[in-house]
C-alpha cells in the first residue's frame, strides 16, 4: 500500500503552467518526431527547416497555412464548446460535410443575379444550419432519450460522408456537375456566392472563423446565457438547483457546436473550393478540430493560434515529399502533440508530490453520510 508519490487534485494551476504545457507538448512531439526521422535515416534538421519554410517562410506559404487553419478554427470551436459541457460531439466531421452539402445546394440553387452580399450570407448560413441539423440527429435523442452521443455522432460521420459521395459520384443529383466529363465533380456554386480572396488563395472566411471563435469566447464569459452554460458545464445538479433548464441548455450547445462545424463546411464551399468536392472535404478536419480544442484547453481564443499551428503542419506535409519524406510525418507529429498535451493536462489539474510523513496516507474518504 505504500506509494512513493502522491497525486492530488490541484486548485489553481499557475498561469505559466497552462502556457508551458501546450508549448512543451509541441517541443516534446518534435523531439519524438526527430527520433523517428533519425531512425528512418533522415536529416531531422533539414526536415524541420523545410517544414518551417513551407509553413511560415514566405507570404504565400503563410497564406496557405491560414487557408488550412480556417476550417480548423471552426471545427476546434465546435469541439470545444461541446466538450466543455461534457457533450462528446465527435461528429464535427459529419456536421462539416453536411454543412457543405446544404451550403453547396443553396449556392447552386441561387440565381446568378443574386446580389453578392445576400448570396454569400445565404450560402454561409445554410452551412451552419446544415451542421446544426446534422448535430440535432444526435442531440435530440441524447437529450430526450439518453442515447450516447459518442456513438451516434461518430456513426453520423460515415452517413454524411457517404451521402455526400453519393450526391456527386453515384447519382445525377443537382450537386453533380453535368459538364465534368472525365471524373464526376461537384457542380460549382453561383459566382456571386463565392467569398472573395484578398491575398493569394486566402479569403475572408478566415475572419469569419476568427469572429466565431471570439463570439464564442464573448458569449461564454460575458453573457448571462454563457454563465448558465458554465454552470451546466460544471455541475448538472447545481444548474438544475439554480433554476436552469439543463436539457435545453445541452441541446442548444450541441446545436451551436454543429453549426460551427457546418460553418467550416460552407466556408470551404463558398471559399477555396467553390463547389462540393468530396475529396477536398474528406480530410479529417472535424477530427483535427478535436485535437485543436484539446490543445487549446477548450479556450475559444487559444483555438486560433493552435489551429494556425495545426494548419502549418498540414501545409508542410506536401513540401516534405519533395525531399523524400512521407507527408504522413505531420500526422505523426499532430498525434504526438495531442498525446503530450493530454498527458500534460494531468499535470495542470493534479499535483504530484512526495507523501507527507505526518499525515501519512490520505486515501479513502470517510463515509460520513453512511455511518
Amino acid at each position: 500500500m505504500s506509494r512513493r508519490f502522491i497525486v492530488e487534485p490541484r486548485g489553481l494551476a499557475p498561469w505559466w503552467l497552462k502556457l508551458l504545457i501546450p508549448i512543451g507538448s509541441v517541443i516534446a512531439a518534435m523531439i519524438l518526431g526527430g527520433v523517428f526521422l533519425v531512425i528512418t535515416g533522415n536529416d531531422w534538421i533539414e526536415v524541420y527547416q523545410k517544414m518551417a519554410d513551407a509553413a511560415f517562410g514566405s507570404g504565400r506559404g503563410f497564406a496557405e497555412t491560414l487557408v488550412s487553419a480556417t476550417p480548423l478554427i471552426l471545427t476546434g470551436v465546435a469541439a470545444a464548446i461541446a466538450f466543455k459541457m461534457l457533450v462528446w460531439n465527435i461528429g464535427g466531421e459529419g456536421q462539416l460535410i453536411f454543412g457543405a452539402v446544404v451550403a453547396a445546394g443553396v449556392g447552386i440553387w441561387l440565381a446568378d443575379s443574386t446580389p453578392q452580399v445576400i448570396a454569400i450570407v445565404a450560402v454561409v448560413i445554410a452551412g451552419a444550419i446544415g451542421g446544426a441539423f446534422w448535430a440535432s440527429l444526435a442531440a435530440v435523442p441524447k437529450v430526450y432519450l439518453g442515447t450516447n452521443e459518442i456513438i451516434t455522432t461518430l456513426m453520423l460521420n460515415f452517413i454524411a460522408l457517404n451521402f455526400m459521395q453519393y450526391l456527386v459520384l453515384g447519382s445525377s443529383s443537382p450537386w453533380r456537375d453535368p459538364e465534368a466529363t472525365q471524373f464526376p465533380q461537384g457542380r460549382p456554386i453561383v459566382e456571386s456566392g463565392r467569398i472573395p480572396e484578398f491575398f493569394h488563395r486566402l479569403d475572408w472566411g478566415l475572419f469569419i472563423a476568427i469572429g466565431v471563435a471570439v463570439i464564442a469566447w464573448f458569449v461564454i464569459s460575458k453573457t448571462r446565457s454563457g454563465f448558465e452554460y458554465r454552470i451546466v458545464g460544471d455541475s448538472f445538479d447545481a444548474a438544475r438547483y439554480a433554476g436552469i433548464k439543463v436539457p435545453k441548455k445541452v441541446l442548444g450547445t450541441f446545436l451551436a457546436s454543429g453549426a460551427a462545424a457546418g460553418l467550416a463546411g460552407s466556408i470551404l464551399v463558398a471559399g477555396i473550393l467553390g463547389k462540393m468536392d468530396p475529396r477536398s472535404l474528406d480530410l479529417g478536419l472535424g477530427f483535427t478540430g478535436i485535437i485543436v480544442a484539446a490543445l487549446a484547453r477548450l479556450n475559444p481564443i487559444a483555438i486560433i493560434p493552435v489551429a494556425i499551428l495545426m494548419g502549418a503542419l498540414n501545409n508542410a506535409g506536401p513540401a516534405l515529399q519533395s525531399i523524400g519524406v512521407p507527408s504522413a510525418t505531420v500526422k505523426i507529429l499532430q498525434g504526438a502533440i495531442l498525446i503530450f498535451a493530454v498527458a500534460g493536462e494531468f499535470l495542470i489539474s493534479n499535483r504530484i508530490h512526495r507523501p507527507d510523513p505526518i499525515a501519512g496516507e490520505a486515501k479513502a474518504e470517510p463515509e460520513a453520510q453512511a455511518a
Binding site: L12, I231, A370
Partner: protein, 513 residues
C-alpha cells in the same frame, strides 16, 4: 461481559482499542468490540457515529491507525478486503458491488480464486440455486443483475459471501433499501445463518429491528463505544438515550412570540422516488411566518424528496403546496426561486454550489438573471466582484481567491457562502437540510445564528435535519418524519432527544409509553 462461555471459546472477532481518523477527524476512537460465534450483533448509532468505519476496518477496507484485531483469539492484520474474505469475513456494503450486466451466477464466481480458468455455467447455476434454497433466499441464478430489484440484488450480495463460505458477515444498514416484507425475509435468513454458527454484524439505527433480530447491541456515539448490552435486557428508551447522548446542550434562545400567518402550507403531499416508492407519503405540514419548524428523522425517510418536491426538483405525484395562499404545486426550480423559496440543500458541492466555479460566481448562482448581476443579456463583472466582496466580508467566508474553484474551501466556508447567497435573495421561506452537518463549532454557530435571524425577520423556516442538537436548538415546533409520514408533532418545549429518538426509530408514542 454477559457471555459466560467466553472463557471457553474465544470470540470470532475481537477488536482492541481501535483508532481510525480521516484527515485528523476521529471516526473511531478506542473501540473495543467482540463478536461471539453464532450471534447477531447490532452496531447502533446515529449518522457519523463511526459504524461504517468500524465495519470497514473489520472488512479489511480501512486499516486502523492503532489497535489490534483478533480472529478466534489469534491476532490478524487485514491487508485488503480480499484478504478479509480469505480469512472468512465478508461485508455487504450499502452500495452494492455487483456487475450489472452479468448474471447472478457469474457474479458469484467473480473474484473467487477457486473458480479458476474453467467456468461451468450450469454447475455455478446449480450451486447458486442450492445456496438460495438453503437460506430461503430464492434468486434466479440466470437473471442478470440489472433485472433484479434492490432487495434481490442484496440477496445476491449475501449469496456471494456465502458462496465463499464466510464465517462472519457484516451487513451495513441492509434494511435501508428494503421494503418491510423484504426486511422480514432478511431477518429470517440472518437467524438461519446465526444458527449455523456464523456470526453477523448488523448495522442499523432503527430500534425495532434491533430488538427483533439481534442478540447483542453495541452502541457507538461520536466514534466511541458508549454501551454494550444484551438485546433481551435493552429498553428502546435506553438505547435511544445512549445513541443520541445524555449530555445535550439545551437551547438558550428567546422563544419567538411573533409567529405570523401560515406561509408554506403542504397538504397531503406525495413524492415518488427513483425506485417508484412513495418516499413522501401523504404528508402535511404548515410553516408560519417567523417560525422555525424542525423535521427530525433518520436519513432516508423522505427528507430529500420532501425538500426537492417543494422546490420543484422532484416531481410531485399527489397533494399540494401553497405559498402565502398561492398554489405552487409542481413548480419548477426557477419558479420556486422567483416565488421566494430559499433552499439550502444537504449536499453543498453536489447541488448547492457549482464546485468548479469560483466563490463570486457561486454567490450569484441564483440571482445572476437580475440586476445588478446582469443587464439584459449581459453580465456585469463589476457587480459579481462588488456583491461577492460584500457577502464574503459580511458572512466571513475565508480562503477565497479570484478564480479559485469553490470546492477547495473548507466545509464551513462553503456553507457560509451558500447561506449568504440564500438569505440575501428575496425570500419568504427558507428550507434548510442539515445545515450544520460536518461543520466545526465556529461555523455551526454562524449558521445557527443566521437561521434564527431569518426567523426574527419573519421568514418561515423549514429545518430538516438528522441532528437532534441542531433541531432542539433552533426549532419552535418539531415534527418527526418516518417512512415519508409525519409520525409525531410537538412544541419545542415538550421535545426531548429521547422522545424524538424513539419516534425517529419508528416507535409510536403509544408503544413507548
Amino acid at each position: 461481559m454477559p457471555n459466560a462461555d467466553q472463557s471457553r471459546t474465544p470470540p470470532a472477532v475481537e477488536l482492541r482499542k481501535i483508532d481510525k481518523s480521516f484527515y485528523g477527524v476521529l471516526a473511531n476512537a478506542d473501540v473495543d468490540f467482540n463478536l461471539a460465534r453464532g450471534e447477531v450483533h447490532t452496531l447502533l448509532g446515529e449518522n457519523g457515529a463511526g459504524k461504517s468505519t468500524l465495519c470497514s476496518v473489520m472488512a479489511g477496507l480501512y486499516r486502523p491507525d492503532s489497535g489490534e484485531m483478533l480472529m478466534d483469539g489469534e491476532p490478524i492484520v487485514l491487508k485488503s478486503p480480499k484478504h478479509a474474505l480469505a480469512a472468512g469475513i465478508g461485508m455487504v456494503y450499502q452500495h452494492f458491488r455487483l456487475v450489472s450486466n452479468l448474471t447472478v451466477a457469474e457474479n458469484l464466481a467473480l473474484g473467487n480464486p477457486e473458480v479458476g480458468l474453467r467456468l461451468s455455467q450450469s454447475e455455478l447455476e446449480a450451486e447458486a440455486r442450492e445456496l438460495g434454497e438453503r437460506y430461503d433466499f430464492p434468486v434466479d441464478p440466470t437473471a442478470r443483475i440489472w433485472q433484479l430489484s434492490v432487495g434481490q440484488q442484496q440477496r445476491v450480495e449475501i449469496l456471494k459471501l456465502l458462496y465463499r463460505d464466510v464465517r462472519i458477515l457484516i451487513l451495513d444498514e441492509p434494511t435501508a433499501v428494503l421494503t418491510p416484507q423484504e426486511g422480514q425475509a432478511l431477518f429470517r435468513a440472518m437467524r438461519t445463518l446465526a444458527d449455523e454458527g456464523r456470526s453477523l454484524i448488523f448495522v442499523s439505527h432503527k430500534l425495532h429491528e434491533v430488538k427483533q433480530v439481534s442478540d447483542r447491541v453495541t452502541v457507538l456515539r461520536e466514534g466511541r463505544v458508549v454501551g454494550n448490552v444484551d438485546t433481551a435486557d435493552a429498553e428502546p428508551r435506553d438505547l435511544a438515550r445512549m445513541m443520541v447522548g445524555k449530555d445535550l446542550v439545551l437551547p438558550t434562545r428567546a422563544p419567538n412570540e411573533s409567529i405570523g400567518e401560515p406561509v408554506l402550507v403542504v397538504d397531503n403531499l406525495t413524492v415518488t422516488d427513483d425506485r417508484g416508492l412513495d418516499a413522501v407519503d401523504d404528508l402535511s405540514i404548515t410553516v408560519n411566518a417567523g417560525e422555525v419548524v424542525g423535521i427530525a428523522g433518520v436519513s432516508g425517510n423522505g427528507q430529500r424528496e420532501l425538500a426537492q418536491g417543494i422546490v420543484g426538483l422532484m416531481k410531485v405525484t399527489g397533494g399540494s403546496v401553497h405559498l402565502s395562499g398561492k398554489d405552487i404545486t409542481g413548480t419548477s426550480p426557477l419558479k420556486s426561486i422567483k416565488a421566494g423559496i430559499a433552499y439550502v440543500p444537504q449536499s453543498r458541492l453536489g447541488m448547492g454550489l457549482a464546485p468548479g466555479l469560483d466563490t463570486e460566481d457561486n454567490l450569484a448562482l441564483k440571482q445572476f438573471r437580475e440586476p445588478p448581476y446582469s443587464n439584459g443579456p449581459m453580465l456585469s463583472p463589476k457587480a459579481f466582484k462588488a456583491k461577492g466582496a460584500e457577502l464574503i466580508e459580511e458572512f466571513d467566508v475565508r480562503g477565497v481567491r479570484p478564480g479559485l474553484p469553490i470546492r477547495l474551501l473548507s466545509g464551513g466556508n462553503l456553507q457560509k457562502a451558500l447561506i449568504a447567497r440564500e438569505v440575501t435573495q428575496d425570500h419568504c421561506v427558507l428550507i434548510a437540510r442539515s445545515p450544520t452537518r460536518g461543520l466545526d463549532v465556529g461555523a455551526t454557530a454562524v449558521v445557527r445564528d443566521q437561521i434564527l435571524a431569518e426567523r426574527d425577520r419573519g421568514v418561515a423556516v423549514l429545518l430538516i435535519s438528522e441532528d437532534l442538537d441542531e433541531l432542539l436548538a433552533l426549532s419552535d415546533r418539531l415534527l418527526v418524519i418516518y417512512e415519508g409520514k409525519i409520525v409525531g408533532e410537538m412544541p419545542a418545549s415538550d421535545a426531548t432527544a429521547e422522545r424524538l429518538g424513539l419516534l425517529m426509530s419508528g416507535h409510536t408514542e403509544e408503544q413507548s409509553a
